[in-house]
């Protein structure tokens, strides 16, 4: 039994979720506050990965980051790491692919809070950052948890994007979903079943925990 694809999958999901927290919270905060006219355009862009076939996303990534064109070459030398067929490239693609799963719950949570909460904090001399971390985020813990778990689970479940931009390099970009496909192609059903079952059970437990916590069944652990 080769555990590498599973370990890689969870490494990727964890890294992606952490990056998404750093990127998604400010983006959701900004979207919930902004009055810019291009807000619908930005919201549509953030939500695109929900409906776009992952292969489309992967295809454009592949084109954009290929060292054969000017932009890809520039990124390559500037970052010092290649973004196609590499773990870093997988993380970047996954961040974009799972962006709506992090941004939407947090934005919805922030918009549902009465504006008077941050206004009260503002009159107390608290900066926007203090308002966000001390007042707003602690009051949308459920939305945060939803965002974190859905982003994680969605990244675990991705296939098309990874296949296009990551390929199938064992130990580097060969995640569980691709390993399953590979094993089936090789008529190796036992191995495919092991990977599948593990993913099935783990994602079920993840989602179950969200519904249990957010449904108030185990509030004593989350107050």
């Amino acid at each position: 039994m080769n555990w590498d694809p599973l370990i890689l999958t969870f490494e990727l999901a964890l890294t992606t979720t952490l990056v998404l927290l750093v990127v998604g919270i400010p983006l959701a905060y900004w979207l919930s506050k902004t009055r810019t006219r291009i807000k619908p355009v930005l919201e549509a862009l953030v939500s695109m990965p929900l409906v776009l076939p992952p292969t489309v996303l992967g295809f454009y990534f592949l084109l954009a980051f290929s060292p054969n064109n000017a932009f890809g070459a520039w990124i390559d030398t500037w970052l010092g790491i290649p973004l196609v067929f590499s773990f870093a490239g997988l993380v970047l693609a996954s961040v974009i692919y799972s962006l709506p799963f992090m941004v939407q719950p947090i934005q919805a949570g922030l918009s549902s809070l009465p504006p008077s909460l941050s206004e009260a904090a503002a009159t107390m001399g608290k900066s926007a950052t203090t308002q966000l971390f001390r007042v707003l985020l602690p009051n949308i813990r459920k939305s945060l948890l939803t965002g974190i778990v859905l982003s994680f689970a969605h990244t675990v479940g991705e296939f098309g994007v990874v296949l296009m931009i990551g390929g199938n390099i064992p130990g580097k970009t060969r995640v569980a979903s691709i390993a399953i496909y590979d094993e089936v192609e090789a008529l190796n059903y036992a191995a495919a079943n092991t990977y599948s079952l593990i993913l099935f059970v783990l994602t079920f437990i993840l989602l179950l925990s969200v519904y249990l916590v957010n449904g108030g069944y185990i509030t004593r652990f989350w107050k």
Binding site: P114, S116, L117, E119, A120, A121, A122, T123, M124, G125, K126, S127, R134, V135, P138, N139
Partner: protein, 294 residues
């Protein structure tokens, strides 16, 4: 003295309306804003706090300019040192009562003030409680204490007592008045209650449709002109009954249904649902103190 001269077009469901105010707010006084809903009272408070940006005009406190459209100055709410008590209390649900008060303080402020406020507002038993578990009156007490914990120069209260019953109102009025005096604040409060305005305020601003209609002491505005030997209430006619030779009208005034007997000829032309005035000469009214325990 706080000078306010502002213009702002406000968009609401009922159409746009413009706020045009020119006002000097005396400092150290308790000022009430009075007027029908939609007359711009809350917008004035929010402009003072920096939560609403006027289209044009100037707001200045002593030598400090808070807003000046010509100089493009707009001091942020954070720098105005204004305490704001919201109608819906705006307590932070993730913090205890004590946590709310401590959060309001600026860095390095003394714990003593918080303890003092907790004692003043009778919050000892509620220190570790979360806002969700408090009653309406308790929430507004915490909200008032929290606004005071930041040691504001100016305290703004947006109908803080609107949702409370009579007994709780009277109690909170005392808290507001005593803290206004104790901390030597300039307090600006929105109120719909004439009794409250006369009882609490030194100075009243009457607003209507975004403009100032009248300013002065509450006595000048409400008592002298209206002083008369007559009670007069407006209400809604609920029912008309003939009982023998007299007619009896049931009229809803506020929350009370009053039955008025009259000659049938006086009731002609009245239908249930009409707005009516019930008046009486006050030559021998009964007057007694309200039992607050009721």
């Amino acid at each position: 003295m706080i000078e306010v001269r502002i213009h702002k077009v406000l968009r609401s469901k009922g159409g746009d309306f413009s706020l045009d105010l020119d006002l000097a707010i005396p400092e150290g006084k308790l000022i009430t804003l009075y007027g029908p809903s939609g007359s711009g009272k809350t917008s004035l408070l929010r402009s003072l706090a920096g939560l609403l940006t006027p289209d044009s005009g100037r707001i200045a406190r002593r030598a400090q300019v808070w807003f000046d459209s010509q100089k493009r100055a707009d001091l942020s709410p954070q720098k105005r040192n204004v305490g704001f008590v919201f109608q819906e209390n705006a307590l932070f649900p993730n913090m205890t009562v004590l946590g709310n008060l401590k959060f309001a303080q600026s860095k390095g402020s003394s714990r003593e003030l918080v303890e003092e406020l907790i004692a003043d507002m009778d919050l000892q038993d509620l220190r570790e409680r979360y806002p969700d578990s408090l009653s309406g009156g308790q929430k507004q007490r915490v909200s008032l204490a929290r606004a005071l914990a930041q040691k504001p120069d100016i305290l703004l209260l947006d109908e803080p007592l609107a949702a409370l019953d009579a007994g709780m109102r009277i109690k909170l009025q005392e808290y507001i008045l005593s803290s206004h005096r104790k901390f030597e604040l300039t307090t600006v409060m929105v109120s719909h209650d004439l009794a409250e305005i006369v009882k609490l305020s030194d100075f009243t601003v009457v607003m209507e449709k975004g403009r100032i209609r009248n300013t002065g002491t509450p006595r000048e505005i409400f008592m002298e002109r209206r002083l008369s030997g007559k009670f007069q209430f407006t209400g809604t006619l609920l029912e008309l009954d003939r009982e023998g030779v007299i007619a009896v009208a049931s009229v809803l005034i506020g929350n009370h249904i009053i039955r008025v007997a009259a000659h049938p000829s006086e009731m002609q032309g009245l239908r249930p649902g009409d707005q009516v005035v019930v008046a009486s000469k006050a030559f021998n009214p009964m007057i007694y103190k309200v039992d607050e325990s009721l």
